[in-house]
């Protein structure tokens, strides 16, 4: 035997006359023996009837005039009725503005904190390019400043080495000459 809850889901279809004949007969048999379900269906039928009989309203007398005004207004301000798309309506417009200002401030703050950045007041140089290397500075880099003395020292060492080699060769030659003697 089916429980009341199983029949309950058929009540609206029964009221609307949309149940198949067999299901309708089955439900009616249940309603005959179940006062609770019978009262529920009765109340639903009455309320449905009351809903269809709710007092009907008509629009106010100036409805058409107001509508034409709104349409004219929308036409004069463009197809969307606003300078901005609907996406920017309500809270979104100030939020987007705030985000844009925040992004700009962050951008300039980051530029300022970057050690490689160029002084913005120096208008002769491009702001976002790397610092230019001056021609004079190239010849005065530390390595190159020490390059010449390094070369001179190497030459002096080379001279003393040559002198030592010559002395060694002379000694060797003297020894050879002494042995021959």
């Amino acid at each position: 035997m089916r429980h009341c809850n199983n029949y309950e889901e058929l009540f609206s279809s029964y009221i609307d006359g949309e149940l198949a004949l067999s299901a309708q007969k089955d439900l009616e048999a249940h309603l005959d023996g179940c006062p609770g379900c019978r009262e529920t269906v009765g109340r639903m039928q009455t309320i449905r009837q009351s809903m269809t009989n709710l007092s009907a309203l008509t629009v106010s007398a100036d409805f058409d005039h107001k509508l034409h005004q709104r349409i004219s207004q929308a036409n004069s301000t463009g197809s969307s009725g606003s300078l901005f798309p609907d996406f920017f309506s309500g809270w979104k417009m100030p939020a987007v503005g705030f985000a844009a200002v925040l992004a700009l401030v962050s951008f300039f703050t980051l530029i300022d904190l970057n050690p490689d950045s160029v002084n913005i007041s120096d208008t002769d140089k491009p702001i976002l390019s790397a610092p230019a290397i001056q021609e004079d500075a190239v010849t005065e880099t530390p390595n190159q400043l020490y390059a010449m003395p390094q070369n001179e020292a190497t030459a002096a060492e080379q001279d003393s080495t040559n002198e030592r080699i010559k002395e060694e060769l002379k000694k060797n030659l003297d020894i050879v000459n002494d042995g021959q003697r």
């Binding site: 309950e8 809903m51 269809t52 409805f63």
Partner: protein
């Protein structure tokens, strides 16, 4: 003039919107004339405020006017216009809910029971038949939006289940189930009215 009206009455909504899409603004006026009152009744029962309801109906027609080329004849015009009006009504209810959450009055318990008819009726309630109207409206207000919209479309506006399914873009089975649950909830909330009737009859 009368002849023109008669001619317009025979033209289908779909023909009128097609004419409007071709630039015939008079066709739009006929559509407004046909739908303004029935849309008002639908939206009014939804938001329970006449000024808001009329504003929503105006906005509905404004959107029809501005977006006329989005209408395709795969659906009935009534389906399209009721979808627009219903969505605007639901947006209004959500807006009210948000406003209520942020309002100080949120701290006050706003749950009110139904007014049981008694000797202290207000003048508008005293008018014959209006008591049940206002009480039914309060019961409708208490329904969750997903039940409210199907009940209004089915029982107040008299749409077929299939068209409700198209207007709300939900399956037919879901529509039937929601109508049934909505009606069950209404009869539960309005049970006391019938008890009074039984007492008065007895």
């Amino acid at each position: 003039m009368k002849k023109e009206t008669l001619r317009a009455d025979k033209v289908t909504d779909e023909t009128l919107i097609a004419q409007f899409q071709q630039g015939d603004v008079q066709a739009f006026d006929v559509l407004v004339r046909r739908y303004k009152d029935q849309l008002l009744n639908y939206v009014y029962r939804f938001v329970n405020n006449r000024v808001d309801a009329e504003d929503i109906v105006q906005e509905t027609f404004l959107r029809v006017f501005k977006n006329k080329h989005y209408y395709k004849e795969i659906a009935k015009f009534s389906t399209w216009v009721y979808t627009i009006a219903g969505n605007l009504a639901k947006t209004e209810l959500r807006r009210r809910k948000r406003r209520k959450i942020f309002s100080v009055s949120n701290f006050v318990n706003d749950e009110r029971d139904f007014d049981i008819p008694d000797g202290e009726r207000t003048p508008d309630q005293a008018v014959d038949g209006s008591i049940k109207d206002s009480i039914i409206q309060q019961a409708i207000d208490k329904l969750p939006p997903k039940f409210k919209e199907v009940i209004l479309l089915r029982d107040v506006q008299g749409f077929a289940y299939e068209e409700i399914s198209q207007i709300l873009n939900i399956p037919l089975g879901t529509v039937k189930s929601r109508v049934n649950r909505g009606r069950l909830k209404l009869q539960e909330d309005l049970k006391f009215l019938f008890e009074n009737d039984n007492h008065s009859k007895g």
